[in-house]
Amino acid sequence: MNKTGKILILATESCAYPGANAVGQAHSSYPANTYILRVRAPVLFPERFYLECFEKGIWGVIIMSCGVECPYHGAYEALAKRMDRVFAMMKQRGLDTQRLRLTSICTVCTRSFLKEVQQMNEIITKLGPPGAERARAGIPGQNGVMASGG
């Protein structure tokens, strides 16, 4: 079983998801703790979804969007605003905001994909399971005990 925590990747079906497939076509290996969910537009997810991810034991979340090439006009901008609120809520809960990252990946951006995965892995290896940073800082948990992750 995988000992490091899991990374959840929300990948847009028009850009980042095919981008992840291009990495596969190139047989470029990357850590298997990455779980890619295909989404139409990540603007669908409310703030609480991200917090739930961490509560349920996901160590890091990468939103791989289409960026400004988003086919849903205004969605990327709305998402970017929501991210600010999520980051604020994460801080309130003593979660390191590096655990959540919004980025743009195109259909052939294989190297950027690998870089994002590598960077997030470095971050979560350093931070440990969600909540560990809070324990280090001596902040008591607000929403019960954080799970240790699979």
């Binding site: 349920k56 034991g57 969605a75």
Partner: protein, 654 residues
């Protein structure tokens, strides 16, 4: 731990819960060399709700698809997960297989275990990831509902706004395909700006002939109705079903006669070409009237107007003998042929200066903004060739009239245009190149050299030498500006670019569509272009319109927002968050006998982005086929260790 659907999701089906069939592909070793397919199947079988687990060397092969079809037919499965290659390759294949077996194609979910597992991971980690991804797909599948694409009836009628060359071409194309067409034109004439030209550049066709031919076909086509002196006043509806209110006025009121037309003249015959005005479409009103048209598609071809130079810009309206290119083209057409020197209004024109890029390619900080703070930074595309054609005509018709062209870059990009440039050079048109920072200066000649004016420039072709050209006439190659369609922009919520032209959906791949479904655009309302390019755009818009209208209906993705009436409390948060005008609104309904506000989706407008789902405090709105519940279930399946418990009896709770 939620591994599979709980009761709220299992309302349907005789057995009380959904039956998920999972089909795992070996891909001839591409998957099975790295993922232990046997192990995968063994673990997936433990998921409550998964009723059939099969595997095949090639799921995409006929025997592979048959496994799915057999389970659907026998009732062994009513939800389907295939774990194989990337969904863009075979998702459609498997959805079709379900349809062929009599199932709804939307009860399908794909697990990508080749591109995102076996090709990038190895050993036990690959197998574990494959299991978790398939479990997630099964969790989603269990929550999928059968869907049907949204079908909107479409009236086989198109409205073309603008009777210029683009509008005429589009109307003819559509009528040929059997679509009823209404043309809404503000003037009494057809032909637009092209009718105000003499010869069309660069190939030199007669504008009168080209316009007469097109307008003749329009006026004689039984499926095309032309409404002149008309404007759109009101607008409602959506793709396939618009209703527009039209107002027609008597010309001479606010509806103008085009350029040369005057009310006191006898009206021309229907179909007659009036030089520099266009083809008279007949029947002008004495009393204004209003009526409405039901139409399936609106095609905007509202065209351009020439830039009007400011007073004093290169001496315009300051000195006699400074005119714009459109004005000059008309003078030239009326000038008598014969003689070596051009004569206009009885005055000999021995020398002409033509200045390019007037009202185009303006640079902030160098050029002056107009009273509304606007600057035409764009290139007007057509003026170089039009200027060269005019210059060449002068040189060839009146060899003793000299022509100087003051330019920045000669943009003869199109077929036959570079040849025209070479021809102008051979005809001894003199070219002078200037920097935008140091434009030519036009002034009144002070010595009695026999010329009224001069144009002076620092010529970059002769290494910055100051050259003074004595001239009788200065022609300003005025650029294009879009016609004012602010009323329609406001009514129809049309996007407009920084350059004030209408903004297409995508500047590379979707140039004739607007973000409002069912409204198309063609010609110079989108960007400067020449007549051939406007006709190509018109046909391209017509073919898009035909695709909608010839089917008689519009089929849209079923992935649109859906409101759960039981949960909605009418907070309006979704309406606020909605990114598409008209897709969501609050309506008054009866809830238990009491009036209440509830959100309502207009599926014709919804783009299915899910911005609404994120903000509803009640979780009452979701995108069909992509619900938050489904994602949460997938998340739970990914983090759950239930399927691995036998090896880790003391596992911590996930």
């Amino acid at each position: 731990m939620i591994m599979a659907g709980e009761n709220e999701y299992g309302k349907e089906g005789a057995a009380g819960r959904r039956k998920v069939g999972v089909y795992v592909c070996h891909c001839g070793g591409n998957i099975s060399d790295h993922v232990d397919v046997g192990e995968v199947c063994r673990r997936i079988e433990k998921i409550p709700g998964v009723t059939s687990v099969q595997n095949n060397v090639f799921m995409c092969s006929d025997p592979g698809q048959e496994l799915i079809m057999k389970d659907i037919r026998s009732g062994a499965a009513d939800r389907v997960v295939v774990a194989s290659c990337a969904p863009n390759l075979h998702e459609a294949t498997f959805r079709n297989a379900i349809s062929r077996a009599g199932g709804n194609p939307y009860i399908y979910e794909h697990a990508n275990i080749r591109e995102q597992v076996s090709w990038v991971h190895h050993g036990a980690a690959a197998t574990e990831k494959a299991i978790r991804l398939i479990a997630a797909a099964a969790a989603k599948a269990e929550r999928l509902e059968p869907l049907t694409p949204i079908r909107l009836e479409a009236l086989r009628h198109a409205t073309v706004v603008g009777g210029g060359i683009a509008g005429l071409k589009a109307a003819i194309d559509l009528a040929k395909r059997g679509v009823e067409v209404a043309i809404i034109e503000t003037s009494p004439f057809l032909g637009g700006r092209a009718a105000q030209l003499d010869r069309l550049a660069p190939s030199g066709e007669s504008a009168a002939q080209v316009i007469s031919e097109l307008a003749g076909r329009v006026l004689n086509h039984k499926s095309i109705t032309v409404h002149t002196c008309a404007r759109i006043r009101t607008y409602q509806g959506y793709i396939g079903n618009f209703r527009i209110g039209i107002g027609r006025e008597a010309p001479g009121g606010s509806g103008e006669w085009n350029e040369s037309g005057k009310k006191d003249k006898p009206a021309p015959a229907r179909g007659e070409f009036v030089p520099f005005a266009g083809v008279y479409a007949g029947e002008v009103l004495e009393i204004p009237e209003e009526f409405s048209i039901d139409t399936g598609i609106i095609l905007l071809a509202t065209g351009f107007k020439p830039y009007e130079p400011r007073r004093g810009e290169y001496g315009y309206k300051e000195f006699e003998g400074v005119v714009t290119l459109p004005e000059f083209i008309k003078m030239l057409a009326l000038a008598g042929r014969g003689g070596d020197t051009l004569e206009i209004g009885g005055r000999q024109i021995k020398s002409v200066a033509m200045i390019h890029c007037v009202g185009s390619r303006m640079i902030p900080g160098i050029h002056e903004e107009d009273e509304n703070g606007r600057l035409n930074e764009y290139c007007s595309r057509t003026c170089c060739t039009a200027t060269l054609q005019t210059a060449t005509t002068i040189r060839k018709t009146w060899p003793r009239t000299n022509v100087f062209e003051f330019y920045r870059d000669i943009r003869t990009y199109g077929r036959g245009q570079e040849e025209l440039y070479a021809e102008a050079a051979r005809a001894s048109v003199m070219f002078l190149r200037f920097d935008p920072e140091e434009p030519p200066v036009v002034g009144k000649s002070e010595d009695n050299d026999g010329y009224a004016l001069y144009a002076r420039v620092k010529d970059k072709l002769t290494f910055g030498e100051e050259i003074l050209a004595p001239v009788d006439l200065v022609v300003l190659s005025a650029g294009m500006e879009p016609n004012d369609v602010s009323d329609m922009v406001a009514m129809m919520k049309l996007p407009v670019g920084a350059d004030r032209f209408l903004q297409e959906v995508h500047p590379k791949l979707r140039p004739v569509e607007l973000s409002v479904a069912g409204i198309l655009l063609a010609g110079t309302c989108q960007a400067p272009m020449d007549t051939g390019e406007a006709c190509a755009a018109a046909s391209a818009a017509a073919v898009k319109a035909s695709a909608v209208l010839s089917r008689g209906y519009v089929e849209l993705d079923p992935f649109v927002a859906e409101v759960d009436g039981d949960k909605c409390r009418g907070t309006g948060a979704c309406v606020q968050a909605c990114l598409k005008e008209g897709a969501l609104e609050l309506v008054e309904t009866l809830d238990g006998g009491e009036k209440a506000l509830r959100a309502q989706v207009n599926a014709a407008f919804c783009i299915g982005c899910g911005a609404c789902a994120a903000v509803c405090p009640e979780g009452a709105i979701n995108v069909k086929g992509w619900t938050l519940n489904q994602y949460e279930a997938m998340l739970d399946a990914i983090v759950s260790d239930d399927l691995f418990e036998e090896e880790r009896p003391h596992a911590t709770a996930g």
